[in-house]
Amino acid sequence: MPMSATALEDDLRDAFPEAVIEIQDLAGDGDHYKARIVSAAFAGLPRVRQHQLVYAALKGKMGGELHALALETSVPVAGS
């Protein structure tokens, strides 16, 4: 069950309003995405917690509507 990149970005934007979000459709099928999210919300959190925040933002779509989402999460570098 594919999901549009826009819908994916909207969900992420709701949860991480100040973040830098880049979405790549890896296979061109609306089902395999890569998302790079740079947000201060991840500061001090282990990667598992960072990804769990992202999955929570997708409200259960991950593993359902969304088959594959490669995640790259990071915290903004000071001064940038």
Partner: protein, 114 residues
């Protein structure tokens, strides 16, 4: 046969297997024959490092397949556990491997000879 009325049996199974084995990978397929690209990559990384691990095929049991997602609050497979602790899925394992962090982590936990 799986019994959908016994949701806690999966939790008990998961808790026991991650307590009994130092490194456990919940995956699709078996280590010699992964049935998903993400599981395959994770197996390759563990093999490359020379980490001994137990692979658990979640495709054999729907209770387990769903149970592991609830257990770790993590929606996807594979899932790697070391000494009972959830480490992450394939993205995190790959990132940790590429940065050298995974090898150090495994050595630090005594599951890899330094």
């Amino acid at each position: 046969m799986t019994d959908p009325a016994a949701p806690t049996s999966a939790d008990q199974f998961i808790a026991k297997i991650i307590a009994d084995h130092a490194v456990v990978l919940f995956m699709k397929g078996v280590p010699d024959q992964p049935r998903c690209g993400f599981s395959a990559v994770t197996v390759q990384i563990l093999d490359h490092l020379g980490v001994e691990f137990v692979g658990v095929d979640v495709l054999q049991d729907d209770n387990l397949r769903n149970g592991i997602k609830t257990f770790s609050d993590w929606p996807t497979i594979p899932q790697l556990y070391v000494k009972g602790e959830f480490i992450g899925g394939s993205d995190i394992v790959r990132e940790m491997f590429q940065s050298g962090e995974l090898k150090a982590f495994m050595s630090g936990h005594g599951v890899l000879e330094a």
